[in-house]
């Protein structure tokens, strides 16, 4: 276990520890610690964290305290300070409520893309972005509520501490106060983050030139799905397990995108919670003339203003309802795929979706659809000229996948220019 921990870079371990404390210490302490982490002042980041825990009388589990002690040792800070942290494995953890807005509140993603468009253009491997309001205070010197929470998913080439810092700085410069939580694809998420994601508004990162947000198709497993029926979630936090924490980074397959267990029960549910699952596909099939010379970001198509339940407690019926939603999803998938089967290659070609042409031309490609849901893995070669590499392969952009994949293929058709990388062979 210790060996696993040792293989993880120290900044990442501190970052993960900060993630585990989200919602328990105040947002400003988290933000400041992340800034210190990003500017390579790890000792000050850990000191700030430790002192905030002591001063706020915020209890940790024994495992968490042990991890903190390890971090304090690693940055050569004063180990005696950790002794003053309250340890209580049975302490009640804070409950949080998330919402996309109540009454006249602005949408949580208002202004976010404008503020961070430039920075996400240069940061590596940003996969997805979601925004949500947290209606409950966090930490002891709590700030005002509602607090905007911006959730960012990075791929294996991303660097979470830098991303958190740079995105937060950009938001702050734009006058937007937010907690920025950056989670690497494929890692477990806390209940706090899972609950935030379950309610959050997905912001669509649209790739035009192919640079920057190339997720190699792996983000098909992203849990940054468009939020299901917006609702308020109240959560309690899971405890931080040092061992599990250490292991997850060393063994995880980043391509699996396990980062919302609630939704990612299986492949079907991972693609699921679209109120109208046909919509993304239809949107993708529409030719859109946009400049292809730069990476652009665009907000998701505005959702209808969520009719929020009155800060409802978690809906026990939601999970029970899942199977019927899955059935509905599968039904719509069948319809959609049948519709595509009926399309002529020429018709598909007018959309410029070369993947569709190949798909339609290859009879074997339809075989997974017998089950109502394609089972083959997405091939990263989709970005390479928008080609599928083999029969039966599935483009997550076809259905419920990241919209920028769709945009890339659209742009190829509309502008007659192969996506970035495609021309390079």
């Amino acid at each position: 276990m210790a060996e696993s921990s040792d293989r993880i870079a120290l900044p990442i371990r501190v970052h993960d520890f900060l993630l585990a404390l989200a919602g328990r210490i105040d947002d400003d302490a988290l933000t400041d610690a992340r800034e210190l982490l990003a500017v390579a002042e790890l000792d000050r980041a850990v000191d700030l964290l430790t002192a905030s825990l002591v001063a706020g009388r915020i209890p940790l589990s024994a495992d968490e305290r042990d991890e903190l002690r390890t971090l304090v040792d690693a940055v050569r800070s004063a180990p005696a300070l950790v002794d003053r942290v309250i340890v209580n494995d049975n302490a009640l953890l804070p409950r949080h409520r998330f919402t996309t807005g109540v009454m006249d509140d602005p949408a949580p993603d208002t202004g976010v893309l404008d503020a961070i468009g430039r920075v996400i253009e240069v940061l590596p491997d940003i996969r997805a972005l979601s925004c949500v309001w947290r209606a409950t205070p966090a930490g002891v010197p709590a700030g005002p509520v509602p607090q905007r929470v911006v959730l960012v998913e990075t791929g294996p080439d991303g660097f979470a501490p830098s991303t958190a810092y740079r995105v937060e700085q950009s938001l702050r410069r734009a006058g937007i106060r937010a907690s920025v939580e950056v989670i690497q694809a494929g890692t477990d998420v806390t209940e706090y983050h899972a609950d935030a994601l379950a309610v959050s508004r997905r912001v669509q990162l649209r790739q035009v030139s192919g640079r920057g947000h190339d997720a190699n198709g792996e983000s098909g497993g992203s849990l940054f799905t468009d939020s299901p029926t917006p609702r308020t979630v109240t959560s309690t936090r899971r405890r931080y397990a040092t061992g599990a924490h250490a292991e997850k980074r060393s063994t995880v397959d980043a391509s699996t995108g396990r980062w919302q267990p609630r939704i990612a029960h299986d492949e079907a549910t991972a693609a699921e919670p679209e109120p109208d699952p046909v919509k993304p596909y239809e949107a993708a099939a529409q030719p859109v003339a946009e400049p292809a010379s730069h990476v652009a970001v665009a907000p998701v198509e505005p959702e209808p203003a969520p009719a929020l339940p009155e800060l409802a407690l978690p809906e026990p019926a939601a999970d029970a309802d899942l199977s019927s939603r899955e059935r509905e999803l599968l039904r719509q998938l069948h319809q959609e795929l049948a519709k595509r089967e009926g399309e002529s290659p020429e018709e598909t070609g007018t959309n410029g979706w070369t993947g569709h042409q190949r798909h339609s031309a290859d009879p074997t490609a339809t075989s997974p659809e017998v089950n109502g849901f394609p089972s083959a893995e997405f091939n990263s070669g989709t970005d390479n000229g928008g080609q599928f590499s083999g029969g039966g392969e599935f483009n997550p952009g076809d259905f419920g996948g990241p919209a920028w994949h769709q945009s890339t293929t659209e742009q190829t058709a509309v502008n007659g220019i192969p996506p970035y990388g495609g021309a390079q062979g």
Partner: protein
């Protein structure tokens, strides 16, 4: 020892107003209010060193009285550079927010809240507010105008500071500036300038004469 160290630390943090970033200063004051002197003893000297903040002789004495009993590293304390005079106050103060017509302290929501909390309260003297802006704005971005609360008190200075900071944070001021001045405290130029441009919000139980105790020469 405990109370003396706490008061010394409180005065030290008072003297650092306008010299340390608000974002750090309010948190240190919050830690002091929570009794986290051991943590402050570790973090504050490091911060002074990293931020290149020097101290006057009197401030060194406060630092020594406040932090050494709680384990401050003497090596770190020795590295803090000494000042022979304070630098120019980097801010100017106004009774009203000059950038926002009608934005006054008296009569806004925070004033109502403070009056509810502090009017007639034991150990509290005057409660004043002023608006602060940078003397030499950096030229980039919006010039930040921030409200500074000035409160005189005869006891529980650190706790009162912590309480008022938390109240301000809860209503939206992320980096609150709360200066609780002990009776008899000789204000430094920062506080003198702030007091001179302040507006009285309410009075506690300890100041029947309507005079700012801290402003006594």
């Amino acid at each position: 020892m405990g109370e003396a160290a706490e008061l010394a630390c409180h005065e030290l943090l008072l003297s650092l107003a306008g010299r340390l970033p608000d974002r750090q200063l309010w948190r240190f004051r919050d830690w002091l209010a929570a009794g986290a002197l051991s943590e402050l003893s570790h973090v504050l000297p490091l911060t002074l060193l990293r931020e290149r903040v020097g101290l006057l002789d009197d401030e060194f004495r406060l630092l020594d009285a406040a932090l050494r009993p709680h384990g401050a590293d003497m090596g770190l304390l020795s590295s803090i550079r000494e000042l022979y005079e304070l630098p120019e106050v980097g801010y100017v103060f106004h009774e009203h927010d000059s950038d926002n017509v009608g934005r006054n302290s008296l009569g806004d929501q925070l004033a109502v809240l403070l009056a509810a909390l502090l009017r007639g309260r034991p150990a509290v003297g005057e409660v004043r507010a002023t608006w602060r802006r940078a003397r030499h704005p950096s030229g980039r971005g919006v010039v930040e105008v921030r409200r500074v609360l000035l409160v005189t008190a005869t006891a529980d200075h650190a706790a009162l500071t912590g309480e008022l900071q938390r109240v301000q944070r809860a209503v939206g001021e992320s980096d609150p500036c709360v200066e609780v001045l002990p009776v008899g405290y000789v204000p430094l130029p920062y506080h003198r300038a702030a007091l001179a441009a302040s507006e009285l919000l309410c009075v506690g139980a300890e100041n029947p004469y309507g005079q700012m105790v801290g402003s006594a020469r």
